[in-house]
Amino acid sequence: MSHQTLKSPASTVIVPATSEAGFLKHLWWNVADTYVVMIRNLMYFVREPQLLIFATIQPVMFLLLFTYVFGGVISFSTGGDYINYLMPGIVIQSIIFASSNTTVGLSLDLSRGMIDRFRSLPMSRAAVLAGRTAADTARGFFTITIMLIAGFVIGFRFADWGTGIAGLLLAVAFGYAFTWISATIGLLVKDPEAAQVAGFIWLFPLTFASSIFVPTRTMPDWLRAFAENQPVSIVASTVRDLMTGTVNTDEITTSLAWIIGIVLVFMPLAVRQYAKVASR
């Protein structure tokens, strides 16, 4: 038991347990703290299942509306079954919208003083964020799993289960990268009500000016230049190829580069902002 009982009014200099511990111990505590925070965040979905239910109904509704309302028209330009075009795209859309939950969650923790409590504990500095992003990614994964099941019911099929699952995992990894962007925004915005909007407003141009719902070829040139080169389109089309059985190594490399790049930029930004954030 490494934790000392600290009750020695006679001495003013107290050497705490954590400071004596070695590097490996610290590494382990990072993992353990992250796990504790992740479980705490997942409890929200268990205790308030309506959060999860609505978070799942919305993308399923999107899927059905797009398929049956636009599907007939769009099939002409996609050539083939629209559901097979739409499904991978809407998986990406759902998982990055799920990641915006991170923004709201963190700003609520800030406004309720939870972050102050965490910051006053000798726990790992990164764990509050790492636990939060992991829990929100798990939630996104749950959401798109339900969506895929709905998709199977209305006729979507993986061309190949192996590459299909790979595509699914790529989508989840992309969602995880986006939770770090959302975490940074949440820590910058602080106010929960502002965070509600700030959390997802920036996702609209990224998801609609993209190849998620429709091919980009009918867009005006300036928009097309953006739509074809932004990460959401790139990852969406990679996932689409994987789910329809095509393995394009270049495309996969570019997608992975985006995912790793986003994490490398936003993880340190979020952690730095966490360290200095003053909640009130």
Binding site: A10, T12, V13, A32, L121
Partner: protein
Amino acid sequence: MSSHHTIIAENVYKHFGDVKALDGVSIAAENGKVLGLLGPNGAGKTTLVRIFATLLKPDKGEVRVGGIDVRRRPQQVREIIGLAGQYAAVDEILTGRENLVMVGRLYHMSRRDAKRRAAELLKRFELTDAADRSVKTYSGGMRRRLDLAASIVARPSILFLDEPTTGLDPRTRIIMWDTIRSLVSDGTTLLLTTQYLEEADELADKIVVIDHGHVIAEGTADQLKANMAADFIDITVANPLQAVQASELLRPLSTEAPQTDDLRGHVVLSVESGVQSIAEVVRLLDSEDIHIAELNLRRPTLNDVFLSITGEAIVEEEVKPKRRGFGRRRSA
């Protein structure tokens, strides 16, 4: 400041833009004693606590907690302190027990130790019956008790409580006072902020009065009161229109110009010795046919102290509760 001071701030500055939250504050809390930080809203109390608890860095000045430099070794400081902030920082979705176990785990206790400690604290704070209900269903007083319990999970030798009873009803406040007293009876050093004079008087061994980022007075409650030479005589005249007349009549008895409120008919005299003056007050007022509705002799309160130092009374307004996220229920 010597080694028997466990919490030390020397010449600490913290400015937020133009707002000088702390403008050269020096305070020291003695080992095992309770230091009360008293001041109105916005005086800088919370800023100072946040600096001690490693949540904020000071712009300038030296800050040591348990002998450890807060700026240089914050993580070590976090191991020996407990903090309960202004708003009960407990997770609504979790149960009381889960909250305490979580905090224990984040102090790197084993799962079993964290559970045992949680059970112990729930019992001590009389939350055992509610232990496995989600905190959403807790009353304000229960939340504060749970928050307090969370702050001492790791048996800290140094405890910071930022306005622990703000917003609580008087009965719950008195229960909290008992709880806090029992916490410090085993040698914990406590720094407590409050805007309630009564609270500082009840709990603190020493009081530091702070206003606009400056320390404006310090001492024990009795010392602060003794510095004011006088007793006070509060008089309410039956006819408020005679208050000014009464005030002029009694002026020679008072060491300072009497405070006069001609709306309510209040006159307050500060006198060397209340007992000796009171007969004279009655005789003088009677000779002019001014009827007395109420007459009180009292020792100065901390409010008088504050008034005499700053020229303003402490405004005992309730802090507005912070808005919670929308769409969530607020429990009573």
